[in-house]
């Protein structure tokens, strides 16, 4: 009973609580997720340490790419604790509008006038005098929530359909693949704009739009890999040993897909962040005044020649996060493969 709880209960529980947190973030608002989300992260880490063993865990984690991991952790913590570390992203101060980044101004006065004067707006202010850094920090929330929710949606559908259609084949596979063909022939941005028109631009619309954009890619790739793994001798032997289909999928197919899946997820994180930014840029994203990284870039567009910092910093944030997630995904793929893991450690 205890064993069952540890081996099955905790992951299922963690997935369930994550779903609840994301749901609350979407429906109720981000301010309500701070503490539960931090708690969830701690439980996740404790569980992973317990599962892998203290020594093993640190031996593996020690090999993680340092800078990307740091950036991802900082990104997640920033998103969760946004309202604790900065003020409101909606506070306007019109007289103080379009101020250049304060850090640079501080540096300039220090060099030119030998006078140290700390400027409050580190990354400058926008056309309404709102602090860019505050909006960037709160934008991380939107980006993180959209990313997690959209990927959960997209990979959930994609993994289920991909494995089942690859494994069972037949007419079911044919039907699924034709639907996928159809879904892939619709341009993602067009679909998102259409949804934004039909459902009205909102947080949920963005998530659904990105989720619907992602699932078909997961199906295609995971189906192909499933078909490959299914033909392996060890799957045939598992059937000879009397394993059920569900057992084979769980114990043989999925474990052999997991590193491909991890790479796909990490690649799609990048895609999600960029699509979310694109939607924000086109005005079909999360509606203003809620800051998202895409809409921040979009808002700064008309001032690009005079106030470069409005678009530059959100752009850099997207670049860093997407790059870090991709590098982290590569490492994850190696760690999930026992052969590669032992070679690496």
């Amino acid at each position: 009973m205890v064993r069952f709880f540890v081996s099955r209960g905790v992951p299922i529980g963690l997935a369930f609580v994550l779903a609840v947190i994301v749901y609350r973030a979407i429906r109720v608002g981000f301010d309500s997720i701070g503490l539960p989300a931090v708690g969830w992260l701690i439980v996740l880490i404790v569980y992973l340490v317990g599962r892998v063993g203290f020594g093993n865990f640190f031996r593996v984690v020690k090999r993680a790419p340092k800078l990307p991991t740091l950036i991802i952790v900082a990104f997640i913590l920033t998103a969760i604790l946004a309202d604790k570390i900065t003020g409101s992203p909606y506070d306007q101060n019109i007289p103080n509008r379009l101020q250049p980044p304060g850090l640079m101004e501080t540096l300039k006065t220090a060099v030119r006038e030998q006078r140290f004067e700390l400027n409050e707006n580190w990354l400058g202010t926008d056309a309404l005098g709102r602090d860019v850094l505050t909006r960037l920090v709160h934008g991380a929330r939107v980006t993180l929530t959209v990313t997690i929710a959209a990927i959960m949606l997209g990979q959930g559908i994609g993994l289920t359909l991909g494995i089942t259609s690859g494994y069972f084949g037949g007419w079911y596979d044919k039907v699924v693949m034709r639907i996928v063909d159809g879904a892939m022939s619709i341009p993602g941005i067009f679909l998102a704009l259409l949804l934004a028109v039909v459902l009205g631009p909102s947080f949920q619309t963005v998530i659904i739009a990105i989720g619907l954009l992602l699932w078909s890619r997961f199906v295609r790739t995971l189906r192909a890999e499933t078909m490959k793994v299914k033909e392996a001798e060890f799957v045939k032997l598992a059937r000879v040993a009397g394993c059920s289909n569900w057992w084979i999928i769980r114990r043989h197919i999925f474990p052999n897909l997991v590193n491909l899946w991890a790479v796909l997820v990490s690649l799609e994180v990048g895609v999600t962040v960029i699509v979310e930014a694109t939607l924000g840029f086109l005005g079909a994203g999360v509606p203003p005044p809620t800051p998202s990284w895409g809409s921040l870039i979009s808002d700064g567009r008309q001032y690009v020649t005079s106030a470069w910092w409005l678009s530059f910093f959100p752009g850099m944030a997207i670049l860093l996060v997407v790059l870090s997630v991709n590098l982290f995904g590569d490492w994850l793929r190696d760690v999930l493969d026992p052969q590669m893991r032992q070679r690496a450690t």
């Binding site: 001798e233 045939k236 040993a241 009397g242 059920s244 114990r251 474990p255 052999n256 026992p338 052969q339």
Partner: protein, 345 residues
């Protein structure tokens, strides 16, 4: 039920009179045809590959039955059908007197527990993501053959039987050599104490230096445990070393069956003679006349009329060779040959 078994036994043309031990597996008139289809949308069957045609044999308790023939002769397809990995086109397979081709769920479960397999490639037949202990215990877990507490003990027991140390259970397959991997595969097949193990080319992927070890191990295990083997092999040296009785296959049909001594000592079918003469002698100085067969194996899609072997047969002189298909006929003891010439001789 008992009478049914005995009549089924008399139908088989392999000398039932010799039966001192009872049959584990009785295969009668087994056929496996693969349809060849054309067209993408409107599929129509344009022909059939007669991979296995009218195969009949019996595997006895505690004995080794060998199915020999060159590649493409249908021996592996036969084994796949017997493992229920493929559906048979026609025929009957009795396992301990019960029909397993149309078996209900309980019987399939029992069959899965009692029949295991070892495949040719020790690299792809072990799940790379499972530890050896889990690989070996999978047949036990899947069929619930043993309570969980006893599984660990059983794993160590079979590891010892195949000559591996108990701590191998905690390692991954990629840490072992080919020969060791084949021992692991064998340990797995032994775990559920089966009555019959199907060995599909168990040593042909191994180094010559290891082959004898594995073959001797197989023989020892048979002596200890009384398990029956169905050995599928193209290598006659392997077969000769192992088998009690043998069936030689050519193009989906049995051409000669009998006990090991009968077939190896007095081969009657020209194909068997050619195969035996092609096997390397035990000493390089031994001079022998090699029978060379002209041409290639014909396509099973369009097998030659009459005796399937007649286009390549060095002695096919009789007119009926090209006209009628010879049936297996008894030539004393358990020795049966499908050849018009053998009858007239």
């Amino acid at each position: 039920m008992g009478t049914e078994v005995s009549t089924a036994g008399q139908d088989t043309k392999i000398g039932q009179s010799m039966a001192e031990t009872d049959a584990v597996l009785e295969v009668s008139n087994l056929k496996k045809y693969f349809p060849v289809t054309k067209g993408i949308i409107l599929r129509k069957t344009v022909g059939q590959v007669q991979a296995v045609d009218d195969v009949t044999f019996t595997v006895r308790r505690g004995q080794t039955f060998a199915l020999a023939g060159e590649s493409g002769c249908g021996k592996t397809t036969t084994s796949r059908v017997l493992l229920r990995l493929e559906d048979a086109t026609a025929g009957e397979v009795l396992f301990r007197g019960k029909d397993i081709l149309n078996a209900d769920k309980d019987l399939v479960k029992e069959y899965r527990r009692s029949v295991q397999a070892v495949f040719q490639d020790p690299y792809s037949s072990l799940e790379p993501r499972m530890r050896v202990g889990s690989i070996i215990s999978e047949p036990l877990m899947a069929t619930g053959a043993l309570p969980k507490k006893e599984i660990r003990v059983r794993v160590e027991e079979v590891l010892a039987q195949v000559g591996l140390s108990p701590d191998a259970a905690n390692r991954f397959p990629h840490e072992f050599s080919g020969g060791q991997r084949q021992r692991i595969a064998l340990a797995r097949s032994l775990a559920s104490s089966p009555d019959l193990i199907l060995l599909d080319e168990p040593v042909s992927a191994l180094d010559v230096s290891i082959r004898a070890q594995i073959l001797n191990l197989l023989k020892d295990l048979q002596d200890q445990l009384g398990v029956a083997y169905l050995l599928v092999a193209h290598d006659l040296a392997t077969v000769r070393h192992m088998c009690h009785s043998i069936a030689v296959m050519y193009l989906g049909r049995l051409v000669e069956t009998g006990s090991g001594e009968e077939v190896f000592g007095n081969p009657l079918h020209p194909y068997t003679k050619a195969l035996l003469s092609a096997a390397l002698p035990s000493h390089p100085r031994i001079q022998r006349a090699e029978i060379e067969l002209p041409g290639e194996v014909p396509s099973p899609l369009n097998p030659p009329k009459g005796c399937r072997f007649h286009p390549r047969c060095p002695v096919a002189v009789m007119p009926q060779c090209a006209e009628s298909l010879p049936e297996l006929e008894n030539h004393g003891g358990s020795h049966a040959v499908a050849c018009h010439l053998a009858r007239s001789a």
